[in-house]
């Protein structure tokens, strides 16, 4: 049961991170197409924000990994 919980949790975490970073990349692209001079600034901000969102997803992954090591009594 722990394995099932870990797998589902990891999948949900990846959905969350993918949606978040996808929206972020879309906004950054739109911003740089409206104003090409700001492309460098936007790229830096995008990378920082992507790393922060990924950090949150990794919290969830660490919790899922903890589930892998908790074995039920009769396993």
């Amino acid at each position: 049961m722990g394995l099932l919980g870990a797998a589902i949790g990891a999948g949900l975490a990846v959905i969350g991170a993918g949606l978040g970073i996808g929206k972020l990349a879309a906004a950054a692209l739109e911003g740089s197409s409206r104003q090409p001079e700001a492309a460098g600034n936007l790229r830096t901000t995008m990378i920082i924000a992507a790393a922060l969102i990924e950090g949150v997803a990794f919290f969830a992954i660490i919790v899922c990994m903890l589930f892998l090591f908790i074995q039920s009594p009769n396993a």
């Binding site: 990924e54 990794f58 660490i62 090591f69």
Partner: protein, 320 residues
């Protein structure tokens, strides 16, 4: 990447999955002997502080010969009561790799400094050019836009050390046979704690300790202190925690994905190996990018936290 872990995994395929994963992750963790891919060198000393005495053994053979300690489950325990020692300060495999990284960085930068002193008027070339461009990148793109001149001068060595230390450790983990010291929980935690102290000590030195304590109130009236102070303290502590987990999880995730992709060859048979090896090469290049990116993100976030800690005290001075 250590092939011996994959051999062990194949041989004991009757065990349940979580034990196989345990073995894989053990390869990524810390060992008491110096590891280079499948070679173990028994050269690292064991240092314990146990029951009020320091014990020093030069390698594993000396430890077992002395009779005071034995091994159980790959960990040294006292022979008398099978307790692990109180404080284990041994030089383990990852500590040895950190020393290697430190020696590499010191050698590289002393070399560049000497070359710079010798021809200060000529344009740099070769290795000096590469290092100088990285240093100037960190100084002008990461530190200067966020901090004022005085703090930049004071903290520039710390930030440069942080960036290059994390970068070198990550890249050593990428070399075939190397182990990434940032892939165990201890090193990112230590770096984040140091960053925590730097942030708070710089803030205190800038505007005094009374101001810093007033910060814990967060601008609310004093009556709300029992509510605000725990919240502000948690906000202060979550920043180093996030730095730790981000660096650690990024590095571990990359290596685990590589192990699993190669391990899938055992599951799917030899005819799938071109696809899987091609995928692994792609993930390998992604990991090199992630090494640079994580060093950059760690440094940039520490700079931003320092600038937040200083900037708030400045704003309050001007606004009152």
């Amino acid at each position: 990447m250590s092939e011996e872990n994959l051999h062990v995994e194949k041989a004991e395929s009757t065990e349940n999955p979580s034990q196989k994963i345990n073995q894989l992750l053990e390869g990524l963790g810390d060992h008491y002997e110096f590891n280079y891919s499948t070679f173990h060198f028994d050269i690292l000393p064991y240092i314990f502080y146990d029951e009020g005495n320091f014990h020093f053994f030069s390698n594993k053979k000396a430890l077992e010969e002395s009779g005071q300690y034995t091994f159980s489950h790959h960990k040294p325990v006292r022979t008398s009561d099978h307790h692990s020692p109180d404080l284990d300060l041994s030089i383990t495999n990852l500590v040895a790799f950190q020393f290697i990284a430190a020696i590499l960085i010191i050698a590289a930068f002393l070399n560049i400094a000497k070359k710079y002193k010798k021809n200060a008027t000529k344009a740099p070339s070769g290795f000096q050019n590469l290092m100088e461009s990285l240093v100037v990148f960190v100084k002008d793109e990461v530190i200067r836009p966020n901090l004022d001149e005085k703090t930049t001068k004071k903290l520039l060595p710390y930030f440069l050390t942080l960036f290059f230390f994390i970068l070198t450790l990550n890249l050593i983990g990428m070399v075939p046979g190397g182990h990434a010291a940032t892939g165990s929980l201890g090193l990112p935690l230590a770096l984040a704690l140091i960053a925590f102290f730097v942030i708070n000590i710089v803030a205190i030195k800038q505007s005094g300790i009374k101001h810093w304590l007033e910060h814990l109130l967060g601008g609310a009236p004093v009556g709300l202190a029992p509510l605000m102070i725990p919240l502000e303290i948690m906000g202060m502590l979550v920043k180093p925690f996030a730095l730790t987990v981000r660096l650690f999880a990024n590095m571990v995730a990359g290596h685990v994905v590589l192990y699993i992709l190669i391990g899938l060859i055992f599951l799917f048979g030899i005819y799938f190996s071109p696809v899987l090896v091609g995928f692994s090469i792609f993930i390998y290049f992604l990991e090199i990018l992630v090494s640079f990116l994580q060093a950059y993100i760690f440094t940039m976030l520490t700079v931003i936290f320092v600038s937040l800690a200083i900037g708030e005290s400045h704003e309050e001075e001007h606004s009152h």
